[in-house]
């Protein structure tokens, strides 16, 4: 009697363990798949873009396309030079405007601000980072465009409607700054307090502490934040498409209208997409974007790990 009770009990126990182990095994397959998903997505993106830009690459030489400034898909002319120059212009200008402000603001948040002010400014930065870029473009249309067109461009002796490379750069600087700030603040705040204490203890002023000790120790993190910011501006689509004016020519001044690689895709998508070669050309633009941005990203990671070893405190 008692034996049979024991055996049913152990049976239910065994079956329960069996079920748990079955769940464990099945879930580990699913989770394993999810673990590989990022790599699979990466490889899939590269392969599809490569495969679809193959028709263009087999017809024209890369060097010739990258250096030709004649972009006229309807005539099968694919010169990427104007868009490349425009992209570099925008990236360099907006990083030149955004980086110093981002670093100083990060220093303020991490080293000067305290208590509620810190929390408040931190949340402001988070909000700024989450505002959709199309809203920046829209606000810029009624704030930045008239300002640049009516005051700034005439002031430096150049006539412009206000749409153009400089406007895009200014707005992109605003878009990318909060992103760089929050990454820089993160790496400044990760530094141990002993660094600050010992530097102040040997008589350095607060600014000397920041410049000589903290910026150096947080340097790898800040540097990779800047590189990631570069990648952000480089691949920005909506703001340039709204504000750059969309003319495919080599820009002759910072206030000229132009084209960046992403806006090339946006502007020529649609009517021209039905031509297979144009389609392939625009997909090739996507491939170029991916390759450059990924180089920036891998560069940021590499720099970070290299410098971290060298700039040890």
């Amino acid at each position: 009697m008692s034996e049979s009770i024991e055996s049913t009990e152990s049976n239910t126990k065994r079956s329960r363990i069996g079920r748990r182990l079955r769940i464990e095994r099945l879930s580990s397959y699913w989770l394993g798949g999810a673990g590989y998903f990022a790599i699979a997505l990466f490889v899939l993106i590269v392969l599809t873009l490569l495969y679809q830009s193959a028709p263009l690459l087999s017809e024209y030489s890369i060097v010739q396309m990258l250096t030709s400034s004649n972009w006229d898909p309807a005539q099968n002319e694919f010169g990427f030079m104007p868009a490349i120059v425009g992209t570099i212009y925008v990236t360099v200008l907006s990083m030149a405007m955004g980086t110093p402000i981002a670093i100083f603001a990060a220093i303020y948040i991490a080293e000067y601000a305290e208590g509620r002010a810190k929390t408040l400014i931190g949340s402001f930065i988070d909000v700024l980072a989450a505002i959709p870029s199309v809203i920046f473009g829209l606000v810029a249309l009624i704030v930045v465009v008239p300002f640049v067109g009516d005051y700034l461009a005439p002031a430096v002796g150049s006539s412009a409607t206000g749409l153009g490379i400089f406007t895009v750069s200014l707005v992109m600087a605003i878009v990318v700054t909060p992103f760089m700030i929050s990454l820089s603040v993160e790496s400044l705040e990760a530094l141990p307090d002993e660094l600050r204490e010992s530097s102040l203890g040997v008589g350095a002023t607060k600014w000397e502490t920041i410049r000589i000790v903290l910026l150096r120790a947080a340097g790898p993190g800040i540097f990779s934040a800047i590189l990631l910011g570069f990648g952000r501006v480089f691949g920005a689509t909506i703001v340039p498409a709204m504000l750059i004016g969309g003319q495919t020519q080599l820009p002759d001044s910072p206030f000229a209208t132009g084209q960046t690689l992403p806006t090339l895709i946006v502007n020529d998508f649609g009517e021209l997409m039905s031509l297979p070669l144009t389609q392939s050309a625009l997909i090739f633009v996507g491939l170029m974007l991916v390759v450059v941005v990924w180089l920036f990203n891998f560069g940021a990671m590499l720099v970070r790990s290299r410098l971290q070893r060298r700039w040890q405190y």
């Binding site: 748990r20 769940i23 464990e24 580990s28 989770l31 999810a34 673990g35 590989y36 998903f37 990022a38 790599i39 997505l41 990466f42 899939l44 599809t48 679809q52 110093p100 981002a102 100083f104 303020y108 948040i109 400014i121 909000v127 700024l128 989450a130 505002i131 959709p132 199309v134 809203i135 473009g137 829209l138 606000v139 605003i174 909060p178 700030i181 002023t205 607060k206 600014w207 000397e208 920041i210 952000r232 480089f234 691949g235 920005a236 689509t237 909506i238 709204m242 992403p262 946006v266 998508f269 389609q279 997909i283 633009v285 974007l289 991916v290 941005v293 990924w294 920036f296 990203n297 891998f298």
Partner: protein, 286 residues
């Protein structure tokens, strides 16, 4: 300049930069809310009226199609992406993978995180071309889900990382399997995970470049899973380029709706993260 003057100069610079950034953010939000609020509040019906047949040209009707499109695209995309992101974060955090493999996957996730959204758009577009389909709601969902995946994984990963180790040790100590332990860890980090999902949702609902080529930029009400559709950011982008002044003014109303939704989502995520910091030992304040 002596070192104290230098110190004063640079602290003023730091303060000034921070003030500038805050001022710009207030300007952007204020312009959107005031300009859009005026248009929206004088005629709130435009957000709930279907577009007329010549909406982009003459501005008859409203932009309900984009509001619904946003909900129908970003909602399912967030669910799909959340499932994948939480699973990936569990896989990377708990005892399924070696540390080395986690590092490799994290590297790829970082790279995907930095990939411009337009690339996801072009990628999904090439898939559409390859399978011979047309742009539709479905592919919009796919594109947004791919775009959200690295963002949500990052937040979820962070949340799971700050869940106390004692939870894991205690569950293992009671004889739980890895999966049961993982579930308990997610539960301990739940507010952080939810905050991350909300942030992913906010980013997804604000992004235009991914859906620009994949959902179809339709000017009609969303008709079905495989019919063209549009979202609010894409609509704002199109409205801002319109030649019709009324349509352009609708862009500000749409931006008002969008920014209110996004700000609300951020607020919700902040509140959750704040609660989270209070209840987790050693939790961070954000």
């Amino acid at each position: 300049m002596d070192r104290y003057a230098k110190q004063r100069l640079f602290s003023a610079l730091a303060k000034g930069s921070a003030a500038l950034v805050v001022a710009v953010m207030i300007l952007v939000v204020a312009v959107t809310i005031v300009r859009g609020g005026v248009v929206f509040l004088t005629d709130p019906a435009i957000a709930f009226t279907p577009p007329g047949s010549r909406y982009m040209l003459e501005g008859d009707g409203g932009f309900l199609h984009a509001v619904l499109g946003s909900v129908f695209i970003v909602g399912p995309a967030t669910l799909v992406s959340m499932t994948l992101a939480v699973s990936t974060a569990i896989y990377l955090q708990s005892d399924y993978s070696s540390e080395r493999f986690s590092d490799v996957v994290n590297m790829f996730l970082n790279v995907l995180w930095g990939t411009p959204p337009i690339v996801y758009g072009v990628f999904v577009l090439t898939v559409i071309i390859a399978v011979g389909a047309q742009t539709s709601l479905f592919f919009g969902i796919v594109a947004i889900a791919i775009f959200q995946y690295p963002i949500m994984t990052r937040y979820t990963d962070e949340a799971l990382r700050s869940a106390p180790d004692t939870v894991r040790e205690a569950t293992y100590g009671l004889g739980a399997t890895r999966f049961e332990t993982a579930i308990m860890t997610v539960r301990a980090a739940l507010p952080g995970v939810i905050a991350g999902v909300i942030m992913g949702f906010a980013r997804g609902i604000g992004d235009a470049a991914t859906v620009l080529f994949t959902a179809g930029r339709s000017t009609n009400m969303p008709g079905g899973l495989f019919e063209p559709s549009t979202t609010l950011p894409v609509l704002i982008f199109d409205q801002a380029m319109s030649f019709n002044a009324e349509v352009r003014s609708h862009a500000y109303a749409a931006a008002f709706v969008l920014i209110v939704v996004v700000l609300g989502l951020i607020l919700a995520s902040k509140i959750l993260a704040g609660r989270y910091a209070r209840y987790t030992p050693g939790g961070r304040h954000s």
